[in-house]
C-alpha cells in the first residue's frame, strides 16, 4: 500500500485529502508545517508527497528544494491555490502541479500516474 504525505497548513484541507485518499486506498500522513513534514520524512519513507506552496513559515517551495536535494527519487506534487506557479515549476523540480479544486479527480490521477511510473 502506497504511503502519501500531505503537507498543508489548512487543517480542513488535510482532513479532506486524507479522507479522500484513504478512501482511494492509500496510507496517508499529514503535516501542517515544514518542520512537521521534515520530522515525518526523517522517521518514515513516503512514496509520494503532496505539497502546498503558500504556507505560514517555511514555504512549500523551500521544502521542495530540500526534498529535491535529499530525496530526488520521491515524486512531489505541488498543490496550491496559485495557478501562477504552475508555469514555473511543473517541468523543473516538482513532478506534477495541481491547482486546488473541490474536484479532486486531477489530484488523484496525478498520484496514480506518478506511483505507477515509480513502480514501473
Amino acid at each position: 500500500m502506497a504511503r502519501i504525505l500531505i503537507v498543508d497548513d489548512e487543517r480542513d484541507i488535510r482532513l479532506l485529502y486524507s479522507a479522500e485518499l484513504t478512501d482511494e486506498g492509500y496510507e496517508v500522513d499529514t503535516a501542517g508545517t515544514g518542520d512537521e513534514a521534515a520530522r515525518l520524512l526523517q522517521s518514515r519513507t513516503y512514496d509520494l508527497i503532496v505539497l502546498d506552496i503558500q504556507m505560514k513559515g517555511e514555504s512549500g517551495l523551500q521544502i521542495l528544494q530540500k526534498i529535491v536535494q535529499e530525496r530526488s527519487e520521491m515524486p512531489v506534487i505541488l498543490n496550491t491555490a496559485f495557478s501562477c506557479y504552475k508555469e514555473d515549476f511543473s517541468s523543473w523540480l516538482a513532478d506534477a502541479y495541481v491547482v486546488k479544486s473541490s474536484d479532486l479527480t486531477e489530484l488523484k490521477e496525478e498520484i496514480n500516474r506518478l506511483l505507477a511510473k515509480k513502480q514501473g
Binding site: L15, D88, S101, S102
Partner: protein, 550 residues
C-alpha cells in the same frame, strides 16, 4: 555823354512798397535796408540789369565786372539750393532707412520681414527703385533660391502697386503692413517663374550671384548683358542692363542676395542707390537671420512641449498601471483566501455524495453544493488569471541548488554526448531573487549550446562565485567557440540566430536575464572554447513590477 537817371530804385536808401514789384509781404525790412535789398532782390531785377547795361563802358568797365560777379553769385546760389535739395532727400532717405530698420527689428516673421524690406526698396518713400528681388540661401538644398520679388512685371504695371498704397499717405511701416496683408501672395505668384529661373546651386562658384555672395561686396553691374558670369537665359529673364547686387552676409553665414533695378523707367542707378541699399543690408540680414532662429526656437520649443506632454502621459499611465496592479493584488489575495474554503466545502460535498444513494433527496442538495462551489471556483479562476498576469514570478532562490537540479535533468544528455561535466559551486551563496523558470531556461539553453559546440565530446564546467554584490555563474566548454557574428549580436534586441548553429537562443537568454537585473558576459575564441558568465545582483529590493519583459 548822356547820363540817364537810374531806371530803378536800387540807389535809394529808403523806398516805398510800390517802388519794387518783387518785394513780398513780410519783407518790409528790405524797404529800409538798402544792402540786403540789393543782394536779395535787385541782383535778379531786370531794371537793375538794364541800369548796369546803361552804365556800360563807364567807370573803367567796372559795371561789366560787376555783372560777371552777379552771375557768379547767382550760380553759387543755384548750386547751394541743389545741394540743399539733395541734403533734404538724403536725410529723408536716412529717416526712412531708420524707420524700416526699426520696423524690421520688431518682426520675427520671415515673410513679414521680406515684405518690409522689399517695400522699402521699391516704394517712393523708400529707395524708389523699380524692382527688388530677394534670393535666399537654402542650406539643406545647397541652393541660392529665388524667394521673393516686388515690382511691375510690365511697363503699364509700373507704379500701380505703390500708387494704390501710397495714395493713402501711409508711413513706410504701415505701407509694408498693407503690402504684406494685401499684396504679398499675389506678388509672389506673379514672380514665381522668374524666381524659379534665378535659383542657383551654391556650389556654382563662377556664377555672378554666387561670386558676389562669396566676395561679400555690393556691386552695380552697368551692362549685365556683357557680364561673362551670368548665363544667357538668366540675363533674358532679368531683362535689364543695370543691376544692383547686395549680398546679405552675417558673420560667416551667407543669408542671401538682394537684387534691385530700374526695369521700367530705366533711370540710371547712382552710387547713392548702392550706398543706401548697402546700409540697409545689415539690418535686413540680421532680421532674416533672427526670424530663422526664432522659427527654429519655436520648433525646438514645440518638440520640448511634445516630449513633456508624452512624459506626462506616461506618468499617468504608470500611475494607472500601479493602481491596477494594486487592485489586482487585492483581488488575488481575496481570491486565494477563498479558494481553500471552497476546495474544502466542495470537496466534502463530493465525499458525501459517494455515500448517498441516487434516489435519496439529500443527494440533490449535495449536488447543488458541488455545482455552486464549482461556479465560484470558475469565477475565482477568472479573477486570478487577470491578477496573476500582472505579477512577476520572482522568488528567492539558492543558485547552487538550482544548478544541481538542472545538472540532474541534463546529466543523461551530457553522458550520451560523451561530455564530462564538472561542478564547482561555492558554498554559502546568498539567495538571489530570480524568475526560477526563466533562469533555468537560460541555463539549459547555454548547456545545450555547449553540447552542440562539442559534437565529439568534451568538458563542461559550471562554477558559482560571489563577486561583491553579485553572484556569478560561469559555464565553460571546450568546444569550437561561438561565431563572432553571433557573439556581437547577442546584445542586439530582436536578433535571431536561427539556423546559424552554435549560439542559438543566446540573444533571448540575454534579454531574459536583463529583465531580471542580471546580464550575460561571453568570451569565445575559435578553438579555445567559450566561457559564459551570468551575473546576478544580490540586492534587488523593491524591484517588483519593473521587469522589462513583462
Amino acid at each position: 555823354m548822356t547820363t540817364a537817371l537810374p531806371h530803378c530804385c536800387w540807389h535809394i536808401a529808403v523806398i516805398q512798397k510800390e517802388d519794387c514789384p518783387y518785394l513780398r509781404e513780410g519783407e518790409e525790412e528790405l524797404l529800409i535796408n538798402q544792402k540786403q535789398r540789393l543782394l536779395k532782390r535787385c541782383l535778379e531785377c531786370p531794371k537793375f540789369l538794364e541800369d548796369l547795361r546803361v552804365f556800360n563802358g563807364e567807370l573803367h568797365g567796372l559795371p561789366d565786372m560787376f555783372t560777371f560777379a552777379i552771375e557768379e553769385i547767382l550760380g553759387l546760389r543755384a548750386s547751394i539750393r541743389s545741394l540743399q535739395h539733395r541734403y533734404d532727400s538724403r536725410s529723408q532717405e536716412i529717416k526712412s532707412l531708420h524707420d524700416i530698420g526699426v520696423a524690421l527689428q520688431t518682426s520675427v516673421d520671415r515673410d513679414e520681414i521680406i515684405a518690409m524690406a522689399l517695400t522699402a526698396v521699391t516704394s517712393g518713400k523708400g529707395f524708389g527703385l523699380n524692382r527688388a528681388i530677394l534670393l535666399l540661401v537654402d542650406k539643406d538644398r545647397q541652393k541660392l533660391e529665388g524667394a521673393f520679388a516686388v515690382g511691375p512685371l510690365e511697363a503699364e504695371d509700373a507704379g500701380r502697386i505703390w500708387r494704390e498704397i501710397e495714395a493713402q499717405d501711409y508711413s513706410l511701416q504701415k505701407m509694408a503692413e498693407v503690402f504684406y496683408e494685401q499684396k504679398m501672395a499675389h506678388e509672389k505668384e506673379k514672380f514665381r517663374d522668374l524666381l524659379a529661373r534665378l535659383s542657383v546651386p551654391l556650389g556654382q562658384s563662377d556664377h555672378l550671384f554666387i561670386r558676389t555672395l562669396n566676395e561679400r561686396k555690393s556691386v552695380i553691374i552697368h551692362d549685365l548683358f556683357q557680364d561673362p558670369y551670368l548665363p544667357h537665359e538668366q540675363k533674358q529673364s532679368l531683362g535689364v542692363k543695370e543691376l544692383i547686387m547686395v549680398p546679405l552676409v552675417s558673420k560667416d553665414r551667407r543669408i542671401g542676395l538682394l537684387l534691385a533695378d530700374n526695369i521700367i523707367n530705366r533711370r540710371p542707378i547712382a552710387p547713392e542707390d548702392l550706398e543706401s541699399l548697402e546700409t540697409f543690408a545689415l539690418p535686413l540680414t540680421f532680421a532674416i537671420k533672427r526670424a530663422a532662429l526664432y522659427e527654429r526656437l519655436q520648433e525646438e520649443l514645440e518638440r520640448v512641449r511634445e516630449a513633456n506632454r508624452r512624459l506626462n502621459e506616461q506618468q499617468e499611465q504608470i500611475l494607472r498601471m500601479e493602481k491596477m496592479a494594486l487592485v489586482g493584488q487585492i483581488a488575488s489575495n481575496i481570491a486565494h483566501s477563498i479558494r481553500n474554503p471552497l476546495t474544502i466545502i466542495g470537496g466534502f460535498a463530493r465525499t458525501l455524495i459517494k455515500s448517498v444513494p441516487e434516489e435519496d433527496a439529500r443527494r440533490q442538495y449535495l449536488e447543488s453544493i458541488v455545482r455552486q462551489t464549482r461556479k465560484l471556483e470558475d469565477i475565482l479562476q477568472e479573477v486570478l488569471h487577470y491578477s496573476e498576469s500582472m505579477h512577476p514570478t520572482l522568488d528567492d532562490w539558492d543558485l547552487n541548488q538550482m544548478i544541481a537540479a538542472v545538472y540532474t535533468g541534463q546529466r543523461e544528455d551530457l553522458e550520451l554526448s560523451h561530455i564530462h561535466c564538472r561542478l564547482d559551486l561555492q558554498p554559502g551563496l546568498p539567495l538571489v531573487r530570480i524568475d526560477y523558470k526563466k533562469m533555468i531556461y537560460c541555463l539549459r539553453n547555454i548547456i545545450a549550446n555547449a553540447v552542440e559546440a562539442m559534437p565529439d565530446g568534451g568538458e563542461v564546467s559550471i562554477a558559482t562565485r560571489r563577486e561583491g554584490n553579485n553572484v556569478k555563474i560561469s559555464l565553460h566548454d571546450s568546444g569550437s567557440g561561438i561565431n563572432p557574428e553571433v557573439l556581437g549580436a547577442v546584445t542586439q534586441p530582436f536578433y535571431s540566430t536561427k539556423a546559424q548553429g552554435s549560439g542559438l537562443g543566446l540573444p533571448l537568454c540575454a534579454r531574459i536575464l536583463e529583465g531580471q537585473g542580471a546580464h550575460l558576459e561571453i568570451q569565445s575564441d575559435k578553438g579555445q572554447g567559450t566561457t559564459i558568465n551570468i551575473v546576478i545582483q544580490i540586492q534587488r529590493e523593491e524591484r517588483h513590477g519593473q521587469d522589462s519583459d513583462r
